[in-house]
């Protein structure tokens, strides 16, 4: 510990602290631009110059290490003169047109200029003008405003993992720019907008739509991946205008993924449905709530009377809240219907665990691991911020190994990597298990078939990463969870975890995957394989939210009654018989339980659009209409307290409830790798126009294979190809993906262009279109 005195206040700080750290710890504000607690120190803006006793000149607080007995003056004449001098330099070439700048009102330069600037400028020369850059559909530029703090550059390199922005040229001609002809394509790129202390980088979708002081700031929780990033939703006249991060060190730190940040565009989409609607004689008609609810109640009762309880199935996406799913479960139980399912993207429903599957530990604990093995995940695209956290851990010494059906760049060092065909994911995991068994001199569990043949060197390398590590984790991603042999992958992964003392974890696919398990919304299985007479669909769109979308669509089309509780009209109008407009997350209170088992409740940030109602209220009244007891809730909190009664922790468990037989299977022929792309995963991101213009969205519209496979098929990059699966056809542009194994065809799933196709990991045929 070191003693330091700042502006006369004595304090002790740990050795290694900077003057800035010390000042922050006692709430002394030192003006700064380039300094950011999550980024490396640049010391280039010079705004944080302070006076240090015995130093001949002012020193930058951000880069000056505290020495014992140091005396610092942050507001002395010397310090303030230096700070004002820097402010003058920052302003000479900065446009002084705050009234027309989108950053106005939330600009650090503007704020600090009030304290450190002059009322007039001594600079009478020509001002600099810098050409704007195209950084893609999300980030707007006004590069003349740039003050060269390099926060954005450091962010792309240090946090996002790939330096997509750089400083070109020299002196006052220095410019921030992307690679020539390239845009910023990171899945967490939007954070540079928050980091930019001036109006050089602003939000393209939000541009010129509101002033910060017109906006209310309301807390919420991201409804996308299983992390549960905390949000500040900014609202004007009951319209969501923008989403910003709410800092939570335990979850999203100070970051947001672009999906969390920009999907709000869908909330104001023209596809929003605002009135209950009933289809009669093939024609849609608006109805009042009472009529619509009675129509639903009578319809369900009618189907059950005629075809029995098993003829009805309820499906919901795991993006629905705890309250919604709990009431859905309760409503169906009231009807005697057992089938309630949220694992819509799953293909294998056989896994049985002792409790709700989860990350197996907190996010912060995971980040402190010595080694992590990720199985079947695109990681960056499935869990953008978790990927970011693991990237920081790797920098601190964590070893990351992967077993994947692709070789995607994680923008962090992989200590070992085993790439397999998607249908050989089980065999890949077993090979690593065999390698471990060999190293550790243990036998494989009797239920796991010991594959034959040599263990590949890559599998041994993966095993070596885990072996002997104090704190290790084995994580299952979406590709694993959606795999037709998920239970086998899970069992083999559990065996690896057991052999190495690692914690087994499931990276939740959606915001409330854990919550869905806790309320028992996983009892249906594949409810579309054998078509039902009635489907009750909550926030779910058959062809986009179900793994075999084509099959689900066919089942829905054949059903007598389809009830859609949805925020959006497009899919529902096509296939439903009755539509009940329900609130997206922004218009309802609710709770998500994230992958670490943390329940996060939130309130609606705007009032429901038109006659839209929160789904929990709709389900609650439907319960009344059906005459069920126990549907008298007046607040969502009452429902939550009942749904999550007691502690969550003891109800989470990744332990297998029964052994799973893992059998080696041979593979041949073309196989599809059909992961759900980042901006198709849920009904909001699919409808966010700006996200749909990103590079990630463009990649999702391609058919990809390695060069050898393409050559065998007579295809080349840029061709158009026709892919066929179970009678469904998709025509796509061809691109090379060198990271794939031979004979693997990567076609993203649940995409408008590919929705006619079938399983994510299944045989596929491809021909030139």
């Amino acid at each position: 510990m070191l003693e330091i005195e700042i502006d006369g206040k004595k304090l002790t700080v740990p050795s290694g602290s900077t003057v800035m750290d010390a000042a922050n710890s006692i709430g002394v504000h030192i003006p700064h631009f380039c300094y950011h607690k999550k980024l490396s120190i640049a010391a280039n803006c010079r705004m944080c110059l302070v006076q240090v006793e015995k130093a001949p000149k002012p020193l930058p607080a951000c880069a000056t290490p505290v020495t014992d007995g140091m005396k610092v003056f942050t507001h002395s004449d010397q310090a303030v003169t230096a700070q004002k001098g820097v402010m003058e330099f920052l302003l000479i070439n900065h446009p002084l047109d705050c009234p027309i700048c989108d950053q106005g009102g939330e600009c650090q330069l503007q704020d600090l200029a009030v304290g450190y600037g002059q009322s007039g400028s001594r600079y009478q020369e020509e001002k600099r003008v810098v050409a704007n850059k195209d950084l893609g559909p999300l980030i707007s530029t006004d590069m003349t405003r740039c003050i060269h703090c390099s926060r954005c550059v450091r962010f792309t390199e240090e946090i996002a993992g790939y330096q997509e922005l750089g400083m070109a040229n020299r002196g006052e001609f220095t410019e921030v720019l992307p690679f020539i002809g390239k845009t910023v394509n990171s899945e967490i790129s939007g954070n540079v907008i928050d980091l930019c202390p001036v109006g050089a980088l602003t939000s393209k979708p939000f541009r010129y739509s509101a002033r910060t002081w017109e906006l209310s700031r309301r807390k919420s929780v991201s409804p996308h991946d299983g992390l549960g990033a905390n949000l500040v939703v900014q609202v004007k006249n009951h319209k969501v205008m923008r989403v910003l991060p709410l800092e939570n060190e335990a979850i999203n730190e100070c970051w947001l993924a672009d999906r969390d940040r920009f999907s709000y565009e869908a909330l104001n989409s023209e596809e929003r449905i605002t009135k209950p609607m009933i289809k009669q004689g093939g024609v849609w008609q608006e109805a009042d709530w009472q009529t619509a609810l009675e129509f639903v109640a009578n319809g369900l009762k009618g189907v059950i009377a005629e075809h029995g309880r098993d003829a009805v199935a309820a499906v919901a996406t795991p993006h629905s809240t705890v309250e919604e799913l709990f009431l859905l479960r309760k409503l169906m139980s009231g009807l005697g219907v057992d089938a309630v399912e949220t694992r819509l993207r799953a293909a294998d429903f056989s896994l049985k665990t002792a409790g709700a599957t989860w990350l197996g530990q907190s996010i912060a604990d995971l980040a402190a691991s010595d080694a992590v093995l990720v199985i079947g995940s695109t990681l960056r695209k499935e869990q953008p911020l978790l990927a970011q956290r693991l990237r920081q851990s790797v920098k601190k010494g964590m070893q990351l190994a992967v077993i994947n059906p692709h070789g995607d760049d994680l923008l962090t060092a992989k200590a070992a990597e085993l790439v397999v065909r998607p249908d050989q994911l089980v065999e890949g995991v077993v090979q690593v298990l065999r390698a471990l068994a060999e190293v550790k001199g243990i036998a494989l569990q009797p239920n796991i078939e010991n594959g034959s043949g040599d263990i590949p060197a890559e599998a041994r390398a993966v095993a070596a990463v885990l072996a002997g590590k104090e704190k290790a984790a084995v994580l299952l991603g979406n590709i694993a969870q959606q795999h037709p042999r998920y239970a086998e992958i899970y069992a083999a992964a559990a065996a690896i975890a057991e052999a190495t003392g690692a914690k087994l974890g499931v990276m939740s696919e959606a915001a409330n995957s854990v919550g869905a398990q806790l309320v028992g919304a996983e009892t249906g299985g594949d409810v579309f394989a054998k078509p039902r007479q009635a489907y009750f669909m909550l926030n779910a769109e058959a062809e986009f939210d179900v793994q075999n979308g084509a099959q689900a669509l066919a089942a829905v089309q054949k059903a007598k009654l389809v009830v859609a509780l949805s925020s959006f009209s497009s899919c529902a109008l096509e296939h439903a018989d009755v539509i009940l407009p329900v609130s997206p997350f922004s218009e309802t209170s609710g709770t998500f339980v994230n992958m670490e088992g943390r329940a996060q409740s939130f309130n609606g940030v705007v009032r429901p659009l038109g006659e839209t109602r929160p789904a929990w209220k709709v389900l609650r009244v439907l319960g009344n209409v059906l005459g069920f007891a126990g549907f008298d809730y007046t607040t969502s909190e009452e429902i939550r307290d009942e749904a999550l009664a007691g502690e969550i922790g003891p109800r989470l468990s990744n332990a297998l409830a029964a052994p799973v037989a893992v059998k080696a299977q041979a593979a041949s022929g073309l196989v599809r790798l059909g992961e759900v792309s980042i901006y198709q995963a849920d009904m909001l991101s699919r409808r966010a126009p700006s996200l749909q213009k990103t590079a990630d969205a463009a990649v999702a519209a391609q058919l990809r294979a390695n060069a050898a496979t393409l050559a065998k098929l007579g295809l080349a990059a840029g061709d158009r190809a026709r892919a066929e699966q179970a009678g469904g056809v998709a025509e796509l542009a061809v691109a090379v993906d060198a990271g794939l194994a031979d004979d693997v065809i990567r076609v993203s799933a649940n995409h408008p262009l590919t929705r006619a196709l079938a399983g994510h990991v299944a045989a596929i045929t491809v021909a030139k279109a």
Partner: protein, 430 residues
């Protein structure tokens, strides 16, 4: 350029012999004797550093830091790789001495670096050569090959356990890469921008490893010091200013060139060696230590001796030893305009005061030089200078300000005349 006076660095070099730079000739005039002496007599690292301290050799790159002291800062028992770097990125306007060293006596530098490596326990060195002297770079590469072939450089030097690898690297001409940490960044393949200090290169240098960086002339002085003893070197100059030093004299003298003379030599003597003023004109002013050194008027300069302390006392600095001589026809406004343009052009742009301030300084001086000066401009120049100097990551900011301060201190009336009349009072003379 031509070397007119020889001292330590060019000792015994026969410029008339076209092979004077080759290893064979270097050995004939006593080259590599110092290295042999160290290895044969098993002189310890501490003894070498002590000899360097005795010599009072001060860094010849411009800052004048005592070399022996710098060498003693190197963590000798650091367990990993350490580096020795030579700064031949000679880019200061007026300076052209290091160029002559690697062209005319490259082995003195190589031997000096090998000895430095020995003294600090370093096995790998780099010589970063300015990008605009490519032929000199090629000459140095050739000299390295000779040294390797002769067993002076590489593994098991002269049959001992001592190993030292030396590599040449040429930059691309950015002035900022002469700043030692920008040089390291550039050597690592990054954009040449200074690092903030601390940490200093002795603890976090090239590739994050302990690194010592010295100027070409500094290293080239080392063999003499080891061979002849630090005391003898010191006595060549004057106390605290040991040895001889190369002065690159340019401007309005009859014989511009490199002069290696004892530190403490009166400027008047140096001017005489240069054949006096060209065309018999009167001396007006001298920039005594490269473009960043404040200008000194003739009367002050004629009282100075050429050493660190005397020039500093006169209010300027010896710097790299680039002596820019200006006669009575020179318009100081135009001279400053050219100097300010240089620093504006060469600012790396990393930190605010230098990035924004150098351009501002230049634009004001440019305006004054083009008859558009305003009465308040001179105070503004001084104020901008105060806001740059001492506020930047590296010394380039200071370097841009010193010429402005020097000119305003000694020649303010010329600037005032120009602002008032819209043209130089020397317009008719030049």
């Amino acid at each position: 350029m031509t070397v007119y006076a020889k001292g330590v660095v060019f000792e015994g070099v026969d410029f008339d012999n076209p092979n004077h730079w080759r290893l064979e000739e270097y050995v004939k005039r006593g080259g590599y004797a110092a290295l042999k002496k160290i290895l044969n007599e098993k002189i310890t690292q501490d003894e070498v550093i002590a000899e360097m301290k005795t010599s009072s050799l001060r860094g010849r790159g411009g800052a004048g830091f005592p070399t022996g002291l710098k060498w003693s800062f190197m963590p000798r028992n650091f367990p990993g790789q350490k580096y020795l770097v030579c700064n031949t990125d000679e880019g200061e306007p007026g300076t052209f001495k290091d160029l002559d060293i690697i062209v005319s006596n490259p082995h003195a530098l190589i031997e000096g670096m090998i000895i430095g490596g020995y003294a600090m326990g370093i096995t790998v060195g780099y010589n970063y050569i300015h990008g605009e002297v490519f032929e000199a770079y090629q000459r140095f590469e050739e000299a390295l090959e000779e040294a390797r072939a002769a067993g002076f450089l590489g593994d098991n030097i002269l049959g001992t356990d001592f190993c030292f690898q030396l590599h040449a690297h040429h930059g691309y001409g950015a002035y900022i890469c002469g700043e030692e940490t920008a040089l390291l960044e550039s050597l690592e393949g990054k954009k040449g921008q200074p690092r903030f200090k601390p940490p200093f290169p002795a603890s976090y240098g090239l590739y994050g490893k302990p690194t010592t960086i010295n100027n070409t002339e500094t290293f080239a002085s080392v063999p003499y010091i080891i061979r002849e003893g630090g005391q003898k070197f010191l006595e060549l100059g004057k106390p605290n200013n040991g040895g001889t030093k190369l002065f690159s004299v340019s401007g309005h003298v009859n014989r511009p060139g490199n002069y290696e003379i004892p530190l403490g030599t009166p400027f008047a003597d140096l001017l005489e060696m240069c054949g006096g003023m060209r065309g018999g004109k009167k001396l007006k002013a001298v920039i005594p230590g490269g473009s960043s050194a404040p200008v000194l008027p003739a009367d002050i300069m004629m009282q100075c001796t050429m050493d660190y302390d005397s020039i500093a006392k006169a209010g300027s600095m010896l710097g790299s030893g680039a002596v820019i001589v200006m006669d009575e026809t020179v318009c100081m406004v135009s001279a400053l305009e050219r100097l300010s343009y240089f620093y504006h052009e060469e600012s790396c742009g990393q930190c605010t005061p230098c990035r924004e301030g150098t351009g501002w300084l230049y634009r004001i001086v440019h305006r004054i030089a083009h008859g558009e000066g305003r009465p308040e401009d001179l105070d503004l120049l001084a104020s901008i200078g105060d806001n740059i100097a001492g506020r930047t990551i590296c010394a380039l900011g200071d370097a841009a300000v010193f010429p402005v301060r020097g000119m305003l201190k000694h020649f303010r009336s010329e600037f005032e005349y120009m602002i008032e009349h819209g043209q130089s009072q020397f317009a008719a003379l030049s």
